[in-house]
Subunit: 186 residues, 2 copies
DNA sequence: GTGATTTCTTGATAATTGTCAAGTTTTATT
DNA sequence: AATAAAACTTGACAATTATCAAGAAATCAC
């Protein structure tokens, strides 16, 4: 868990009090493989950090199942549209492996921010980081062939190719399962 | 300018002091059409809000000129990779019309945040908003045909089609200029 | 305003990728 | 371990989109 903070904000280590404050609003939870952690159409009020396991965020477009995010150890996930805009989410979230997570209720987080405004800094740094991640993802999608997209992801997150069903990676990369299979087979 | 704040955080109106503090670090600047506001390869340390005019953020991929962001009145722009990560940017920024902007030095902004940590809240809300914008953009790109992408943008930002050269919109939508032209001609 | 440059359009063709279908392999259940 | 279900692979074909090329239209510079 410490790694998660380390990843996103070195400030944590300058003040162990911060870790304590955050741990106070974090709840440890477990899910089984294939469990649905969040269902589309409902409001998601939690933010999750993974201790172990792997999850995906996805939605349906014209009955096709599209993965938009993978999260493994130390990564975070949530139904981001719902969490930020406080509306029903278009996304669902599924455990792809048995999962141990730390769950943070967004209201608790906002209360903490109100009580200790200096922690907003952490929230901002975190958002800056995931914003950059998203910018990269757009670049990857906007201008690369299927083969290039495959290779980029293989370089960035090789473990996905061992731990996740191909069809989910294919949809994440915006290509058909057949095209994915042909690329993999060289 | 007030509209920019209104767009991103209603909190501003609960406390006019905030506007004042921000205005203290904002500098008014003008650019001529075709001016390069920022060149790739250099570090960008400013964040811009447009009072009037239109700009684009772009980069070169294999000698092709790819637009990744348009900004018009009340919108903001910067070389986001550079600003957040403090490294040389891959992006350049061009004025597509005569431009009046408010420019904020990122260091000044961070100093303001240090002096008044409660303003981090504003930074976080702003990032949340542009994060959601980006999520939508990925959805638009990942799973829509050229025609659909054209229609989505036409609905969301019709003014671009009147004010911006087609080739820039085409690259922004991830399609060739010829395909763009054929879709437009119905 | 005239010529030069850039942008846009249109056609022909080629390349990429998706869809459908059938068979194979892998995984899950009992 | 046997069976059922799900996931993956492969081929044939179709659809989409890019590329190249050439001409038309629009914009820019003097």
């Amino acid at each position: 868990m410490l790694n998660f903070f380390k990843q996103h904000a070195s400030l944590v280590f300058e003040n162990p009090q911060i870790v304590e404050d955050f741990q106070e609003i974090m709840v440890s939870q477990k899910f089984k493989k294939h469990d649905i952690i969040h269902s589309s159409g409902s409001v998601c009020s939690h933010f999750y950090v993974i201790a172990s396991g792997l999850a995906r965020v996805f939605y349906y477009k014209e009955s096709k199942d599209i993965t938009v995010h993978f999260a493994a150890e130390e990564d975070s996930f949530t139904a981001i549209d719902s969490l930020i805009q406080r509306k029903k989410s278009k996304y669902s979230i599924e455990a792809l492996e048995d999962l141990e997570v730390f769950s943070i209720n967004f209201n608790d987080l906002e209360l903490l921010f109100e009580k200790k405004p200096e922690y907003e800094h952490f929230g901002r740094l975190f958002l800056q980081q995931i914003y950059i991640d998203l910018v990269e993802r757009i670049d990857d999608l906007q201008l690369h062939s299927t083969k290039e997209r495959y290779d980029i992801l293989l370089t960035k997150k090789p473990y996905l190719f061992k731990r996740v069903a191909s069809k989910h990676i294919a949809s994440f990369l915006g290509m058909s399962a057949e095209t994915f299979s042909r690329i993999r087979g060289k």
